[in-house]
Amino acid sequence: MRKRMSLLGAAAVIAIALTGCSGANPGGDSGSSGGSGDGSGSNAPYEVASSVDLEGSPTYDAMKKRGNVIIGVKEDQPGLGYMDAATGKRTGFDVEIAKWIAASLGFGEDKIEFKAIPSANRESAIVNGDIDYYVGTYSITDKRKQQVDFAGPYFVTGQGLLVKKDNTDITSEKDLAGKKVCSATGSTPIQNIKENFPDTKTVEFDTYSQCVEALKDGQVDAVTTDAAILIGYAAQEPDALKVVGEPFTVEKYGVGLPKGDDALRKFINDLFTNGGDTWQAIYDETLGQSGTKVEQPKVEAY
C-alpha cells in the first residue's frame, strides 16, 4: 500500500513535469494543452485515426511536417471553450469538437497545441498561419468568408441577453434602448446591436469574461452574445446571473480554415456528416449537461 502511494506520488511528479514541458513551448503560449487527466484513448467517443486519406491540403501537409496540430480556441467560455487557469485543463463542446477533428486527422491529444485567440483576431490568426484551424463559437458570415473558409456548421444558436438576477427592466432585446450592453470587440452580436438598436450604448472587451465581470460590477446592464455562451455563464453562477428572452438571431458555428484549403474543408464536412453519433456523444458530455436538447445541424457545404 505504502509503496503504491509513493508510486502514485512519482507519477504525479512526472505529470507535473510533463505539464511544464508543454507549457514551455516556444510560442510562450500560456495555455497549451497541459497534462489533463483524461486521456482521449479510453473514454473519448472518437479514436485517433491511424491512416488518413487527405490529399492536396496545404494545411494538413504543414501539420504533418510539423508533427503536431495548432488549434485556435476560446478559453473563457464555460461549457464551450474553457481553460481552468490553475490546472490548465481545457473543457467544453468546442474543445471536444477540435480534438475530434484532430483525432480524425491522426493527431492524438499529446500532438495538439491549443492557442487562445480572442474574437477580434480570429481572421488574422488564420490568415497569418498562427493556427491550423479555429474552433470557438465562430459564426459563419459572408464577410468572414472573404478572408477565411468555414467547415460546418457544427452548431446553431442565436443572440441572447444575460442580465443580473435581480434585473427586471430587461426581459427581451426590445428593452435595450438607453441601456449599456457589453460584448466582445468586433463580434457579430455587437455589430448587430449597433446596426439594429442604435439607441443602445455599447461597451466592448476582448473577452466575454470581462463583460460578465463588468455586468456583475454594475458597469453595464446586459451582456449580449450567442445564447449558448450565455447559458454557460449563467450555469456557473445561477444566483447572480440569468439569461432572458428568446434568441433573436441565427448563428451557425463553423470551423475556421485557411482560405482556399478545399480538401481539408471537405474532409471536415464529411466528418461531421458521417459522425452523427460522435457529435451526439460530445454534446451530451458537455453542453448537454445543462439539460438543453439540441440536434446536430446539417452541414452546408459550399
Partner: protein, 290 residues
C-alpha cells in the same frame, strides 16, 4: 541644487516644516488607509481571491510570461540601439539625400503611437501576404521603430553637445570622418547620454506591456487572463498587485543600473561635456510612452 532654494532652516522654519511634514504624513496615511479599507471591505484580501496564486502551474506561467516580456525587451532594446546608432549617423550626414530621408523617418516613427505601429504590423500586413508576423514580431518591430528613432535623437544631441574642439582636434591629427565619429565623438556622446539611454530602455521594458492588445502572451496578458477567472472569484486586484510588483521590480533593477552607470561615469576622468547640460534638453522628451 534644490537645496539652494531655501536657507538652512531656523527654529521657526523647522517648526513649520515639522507641522507640514506631519500634515503630509496624515494626508498620505489617510489616502492609503482608505484604499486598504476599500480593498478589505470589497473582499480583496479574502483567501478565495488569492487562491489562484497557490497553484504551481500559475507561478510557472508567471515565470514563462516574465521570460516572454524580458525576451521581447532584450531583442527590442538591442535592435533599438542598433537602429538608433545607424539613424543618428544618417541624420548627421553631410549629404542631403541621406540626412533628409532619415530625418523624415525619425520624425515619422516618433509621431506614430507605438500601439498603432504594432497594430499595423499585426493586423495590417498579413492580408497583404506577409506571413511571418507573430505577436512577438509585431511587438519587437513596433518597439524597435519607435525607440530606435528616439535613441537616434539622443545620440545626435549627445554628439552635438560635444565642444567643437573635439572634432577639430580629431581632424587635425589626421583622422577621417569615420574615425572622428567612431573613435572620438560617439564614445563620449554615449557615455554622456548613458542615463538617458538606459531610461529609454526602461520605456522599452514597460511598453512590452502593450503587446497584450495584439495578443502577445506576456505578463499583462496573463494578468488579464487570471484576473478574469471567475472560478477563482475574479481576482483582478490581487493579480494587479502581484503583476505590478513584478514590473516595478524589473524596472527598478534597470533604473538601478542606470544610477550605477551614472555614478560610475561621474567618477571617471572628466568628460568633455557636462552630461547634465545635454540631458536637460531631452529630459522626459520622448521617454514617456507607456
Amino acid at each position: 541644487m534644490s537645496d539652494t532654494l531655501y536657507d538652512v532652516p531656523g527654529p521657526r522654519a523647522k517648526a513649520r516644516n515639522r507641522v507640514l511634514g506631519i500634515i503630509t504624513i496624515l494626508v498620505v496615511a489617510a489616502i492609503l488607509a482608505f484604499i486598504i479599507y476599500r480593498f478589505a471591505e470589497s473582499g480583496q484580501f479574502s483567501a478565495a481571491k488569492w487562491q489562484i496564486f497557490t497553484f504551481p502551474l500559475v507561478w510557472q506561467n508567471v515565470g514563462i510570461a516574465t521570460l516572454a516580456t524580458l525576451g521581447a525587451f532584450a531583442l527590442a532594446g538591442l535592435l533599438s540601439l542598433v537602429l538608433g546608432l545607424i539613424l543618428s549617423v544618417g541624420r548627421m550626414s553631410e549629404h542631403k539625400w541621406v540626412s533628409i530621408p532619415v530625418t523624415l523617418f525619425i520624425e515619422l516613427f516618433r509621431a506614430i503611437p507605438v500601439l498603432i505601429l504594432m497594430m499595423i504590423m499585426y493586423y495590417g500586413l498579413p492580408p497583404l501576404g506577409v506571413d511571418f508576423v507573430t505577436p512577438f514580431v509585431a511587438v519587437v518591430t513596433g518597439l524597435t521603430l519607435y525607440n530606435g528613432s528616439v535613441l537616434a535623437e539622443v545620440f545626435r544631441s549627445g554628439v552635438e553637445s560635444l565642444p567643437t574642439g573635439q572634432k577639430e582636434a580629431a581632424y587635425a591629427i589626421g583622422l577621417r570622418k569615420s574615425g572622428v565619429m567612431a573613435l572620438i565623438l560617439y564614445p563620449q556622446a554615449i557615455r554622456a547620454m548613458m542615463p538617458v539611454i538606459i531610461s529609454q530602455l526602461v520605456v522599452v521594458l514597460k511598453d512590452t506591456a502593450l503587446g497584450f492588445i495584439v495578443t502577445f502572451h506576456e505578463l499583462l496578458y496573463l494578468a488579464k487572463f487570471y484576473g478574469s477567472q471567475f472560478t477563482y472569484d475574479a481576482p483582478i486586484i490581487p493579480t494587479t498587485l502581484v503583476f505590478g510588483t513584478i514590473y516595478i521590480i524589473l524596472c527598478l533593477i534597470l533604473s538601478g543600473v542606470a544610477k550605477w552607470v551614472e555614478v560610475r561615469s561621474r567618477r571617471g576622468p572628466g568628460s568633455a561635456i557636462s552630461a547634465e547640460v545635454a540631458r536637460t534638453r531631452i529630459v522626459a522628451a520622448d521617454g514617456s510612452a507607456a
